[in-house]
Subunit: 454 residues, 2 copies
C-alpha cells in the first residue's frame, strides 16, 4: 500500500518513468532535451493537427450528445456525456498550450537533473499515531463538530487577475456560493491563491496544498477539494459520511469506466475528499510523480494516452494520473469509494437547462439528477482565454446555477430571484412581527429534511 | 428610546422631514418635484461648481496631509486625515452622480406619495423576549461558541460585474481575506449580493440587510457589517467584547469630532457592530428614514450638510445620517461605544506605506497604529469608474495590505510572500517530519498571544 515512486522501464512499455530513473529512462528523456527547440516546433504543429481532429470529433459527439441527452440511466449516454466533458476540458488546455497557472520562470531545460527524486515533502510515516496523540492532547480542537466529522473545504484560484474580466466576477460568485453552503453545514473554507510548489502548478497544485493542509490542521478529519468552477446547487444535501467510515478517499466516477474501459474520464478530480490520515499522505506521494512540469509531465502524458481509453495526447493531468494509478495498483482501491449515487461532481451541460423542471417537480436534499448536489462547469474556463463552449452559453448557465442555489439560501430571508437569469430578487412572503416562526421552518440547519447521518 | 420616524417642520429648520409629512413639509417637496427638469439641470451645474471647489480644497489638504503625516497622536493630523478621507469618498460619489448600486428603474417622480411612511419592515417590539425564549428552546443553536459570543460578519457587493475589471479581482481577494480571518476566529460570514430593498440601495443597503439577518439568525449575538473595501490586516487581534457588555453598538470614531465639532466624518460606518436586540432594531428604524432614494434622500442631504461640519452638498449618506441622529438624539449614546483604541476601521493612506516598518518593529495582535486591525480603502473604489486616488496607488496599496495579511495566514503553512507586492511565495522554514510542532507554535488559534477576553 505504501509504495514510494515507481520503477523505470525502457520507453514503450506501460509502466511509469521515475524521476529517480536508471539510465534507460533518462536517456530517452535527455535525447528529447537535446532536440529542444526543433522538437518544440514539431510538438506545436502536432498539437494543431490534433486540435483539428479533436474539434471534428467533439462536433460529432456534441451533436450525438444533444440529440441523445435525457435520463442518465443509459450507460451509453453516460459515457458520451463523460467523453464530451473531458475532451472539451482537455481541448481547452491544449489550445492554451500551457497550464493556466504556469509559473513565469521557464525551466532551464539543459540543467534539469532527471536523477532528482521528486517529492511532495519530507516522508512522514507515523501520521496516524501522531495525529491521534495530538487530538487527545488538544480537546479544544476535536475532529468532530456537533457530532459530525470536521470537514475543511479547499478551493482556490491564481493570484493574478483573470485573462477574461468576467472570470473574476464568476470566481467571486463561486466563492460566495461555497461560503453559503459551508456556513449552513458548519464546514470551514480555505481559499488558496498561492503556488506552494512551482513544479506542481496548474491542476496539479491541489496535491501539495492538500498535503500541507492535512499536516497543518490535524483537527480536520476530511479535506474536500473543490474546483473554482464547481457550484453547490443543493444547499440541503449533506455528504453521507457514514458510508465512508471504512474509506479514505471519496471521488465521483463510474467503476465500469474505470476498470473495464480504463477510460481517462472514469473519475473526476474536480470535487473529492481525502481523510486526514497516513494512507492519504501515501497516496499523494504515489500520485505526485507524474506532475512536475516539463519533461517528466510530458513523458508521463504519453504513458497515460497510451493506456487510457479516449485520452488525447497532452501532458499528464492529475485526473488521468490518478485513474492510471488506481487501475495499475489496484491495492489502493479498497479504501477508495467511487461515488455516483449523488452528484459529488455534476457535469453542467445536462443539468442547467432542467432547473425549472427540478423546482417544479422535486426539492432540495436529493443531491442527484433530480436536484444535483454540485454543478461543475467543466470546460467553461471563464477565467481563461479559451473555453470550449460558447462564452455566452457558459456565463448564462453559471448565472442560472448560481441563482438556483441562491434561491435556496434566500428562502430563509423571505426572498427569491425573479428568474434564474435575474440578479433582482422579490419577496416570497410578507413581513411579519413573528419572524422566529420562519426561522424554525426555513433555516436549513433546523430542517428535518436534512440528511445528517455520519 | 423607541421613537419611530420624525416630525416634519417647514423647510429651513434643522429638524428632519418625515415621509409621513403634514402639508408643510410635503408642499416644499412637491414644489421641488414640479420644478423637476429645470431643477435637475441647476442641480447638476451646482454640482460641477462644487466639484471644482472641492478639488481645489482636496489638493490643498492632500498636500498638507502628505507633508504632515507621521504619528497619529496629533489631533490636527487626525482631523485632517479624516477630512481628506471622507471628502474623497464623497467626491467620488458626486462625480458618479449616482449610487454605484442604484437599481435600474428610474423612480417615477410624479407618482411618489410623500405621505407614505417609509419603514424597514413590520414593527417588532418584543424582540429581546422572543429571542431569549427561542434560545432557551434551541440549545443546539447557542449564542456563544467556545465561550465566545457568536458573531456574524456581513459584507457584500452588487450582483453585476464591476465597471472596472480589476474591481472583481479585488473583491475576490477581499473576501478571501475575510474568510481567513473568520476561519481563524470562528466567525460566520454572509456575503450579500442582493438588493433587499430597492429604495435603500447603495450605502444604505446595509440597513435592511442587517435587520433581516438579525431576525433570521437569533443565534447570532453580534452582527458585524464590514465594507468590501476593508481588509483585515491583523490576523491575531480579536474584538475585546467584554468592553462592550453594556453596549449595543460598536463603531470607530472620535467623540470630540462627534459632539464638539459635529463633523460629518466623526464615525465610520464601514466597519461596525450591532448587538442582536430590540435596541438595535429601534435604532435601525430611527436611522433609515433619510435613506429612501429620490427626493427624501436629497432633502435629507441638505439638512445634513447644513448641520455637519465639513460636509459637502449631496444626498444623504448613511454615515452622516447616523452622526446627525446621534448628536441630535443623544439619548441613544449610552449604548453606543465609540471605539478608537484600535483600528476597527483604519484609513489606508496613513498605514500602507508602513507595513515593512511594522513587520520590523512590532507583531500581530496589537490592532492599532502599530499593527492595524483593519485597513480600509476609503475612496479607492476599484469596482467603480471613479475613485478619488490614482488607480495604481490604490491597487498597489491594496495588494500590499492583502499580502501583509496573507503572510500572517501563510506562516502556519511555512510560507510568506516574496515581497508585499509579490503574488509569489517562498518557504520560511524547512520541511519537517514532525509538523505538529509547528501547528502548536504557529496556529493562531493556539497562540497565547491571542486576546481572548469576552
Amino acid at each position: 500500500m505504501g509504495q514510494d515512486g515507481f520503477t523505470a522501464q525502457k520507453r514503450g512499455t506501460s509502466t511509469l518513468p521515475t524521476s529517480a530513473a536508471p539510465n534507460g529512462g533518462s536517456r530517452s528523456s535527455r535525447s528529447l532535451l537535446r532536440g529542444g527547440g526543433g522538437n518544440r516546433q514539431i510538438h506545436k504543429t502536432l498539437n494543431n493537427i490534433k486540435i483539428t481532429i479533436l474539434c471534428g470529433l467533439v462536433t460529432i459527439l456534441v451533436l450525438r450528445g444533444t440529440i441523445g441527452f435525457g435520463s442518465l440511466s443509459s450507460d451509453n449516454d453516460l459515457e458520451n456525456q463523460a467523453i464530451i466533458e473531458e475532451t472539451n476540458r482537455i481541448l481547452a488546455e491544449i489550445r492554451s498550450d500551457k497550464d493556466p497557472d504556469d509559473p513565469e520562470e521557464n525551466l532551464d531545460q539543459t540543467t534539469i537533473n532527471l536523477n532528482d527524486t521528486y517529492s511532495l515533502g519530507a516522508k512522514i510515516s507515523n501520521w496516524d499515531e501522531e495525529r491521534s496523540l495530538w487530538l487527545s492532547r488538544n480537546q479544544d480542537f476535536p475532529n468532530t463538530i456537533n457530532g459530525k466529522a470536521r470537514i475543511l473545504l479547499v478551493t482556490g484560484s491564481p493570484p493574478s487577475p483573470c485573462d477574461n474580466a468576467i472570470g473574476d466576477h464568476y470566481l467571486l460568485k463561486s466563492i460566495k456560493n461555497k461560503i453559503d453552503y459551508c456556513r449552513i453545514h458548519g464546514i470551514e473554507i480555505v481559499y488558496n491563491m498561492a503556488h506552494l510548489d512551482k513544479e506542481l502548478a496548474g491542476y496539479w497544485a491541489k496535491l501539495p496544498l492538500i498535503r500541507r493542509l492535512m499536516l497543518s490542521h490535524p483537527e480536520v478529519e476530511w479535506i474536500w477539494w473543490m474546483d473554482s468552477d464547481a457550484l453547490f446547487t443543493d444547499m440541503v444535501f449533506e455528504l453521507p459520511l457514514s458510508k465512508y467510515k471504512d474509506h479514505n478517499m471519496v471521488i465521483h466516477g463510474y467503476p465500469d469506466l474505470l476498470f473495464n474501459q480504463k477510460s481517462w474520464i472514469a473519475l473526476n478530480t474536480g470535487s473529492f475528499l481525502f481523510r486526514n490520515c497516513q494512507w492519504s499522505l501515501d497516496l499523494l506521494d504515489e500520485w505526485a510523480p507524474m506532475g512536475p512540469k516539463g519533461p517528466v509531465r510530458e513523458e508521463a502524458g504519453k504513458i497515460l494516452t497510451a493506456n487510457l481509453k479516449g485520452r488525447p495526447a497532452f501532458e499528464a493531468d492529475d485526473q488521468s494520473a490518478l485513474i492510471y494509478l488506481l487501475i495499475t495498483k489496484t491495492e489502493w482501491m479498497n479504501k477508495v469509494f467511487v461515488e455516483n449515487s449523488f452528484f459529488l461532481h455534476g457535469y453542467w451541460a445536462g443539468l442547467v437547462d432542467r432547473y425549472e423542471e427540478m423546482m417544479e417537480k422535486y426539492h432540495p436534499g436529493l443531491g442527484d439528477e433530480r436536484w444535483p448536489f454540485v454543478t461543475h462547469f467543466v470546460g467553461c474556463k471563464p477565467c481563461g482565454s479559451y473555453g470550449d463552449y460558447p462564452v455566452q452559453r457558459c456565463l448564462s448557465s453559471m448565472e442560472r446555477a448560481f441563482n438556483f442555489a441562491d434561491n435556496q439560501v434566500l428562502k430563509l430571508y423571505g426572498f427569491r430571484h425573479r428568474g434564474l437569469l435575474s440578479p433582482k430578487i422579490k419577496r416570497i412572503r410578507n413581513e411579519t412581527v413573528t419572524p422566529l416562526e420562519y426561522v424554525d421552518q426555513f433555516d436549513i440547519r433546523h430542517s428535518s429534511a436534512q440528511v445528517t447521518t455520519n
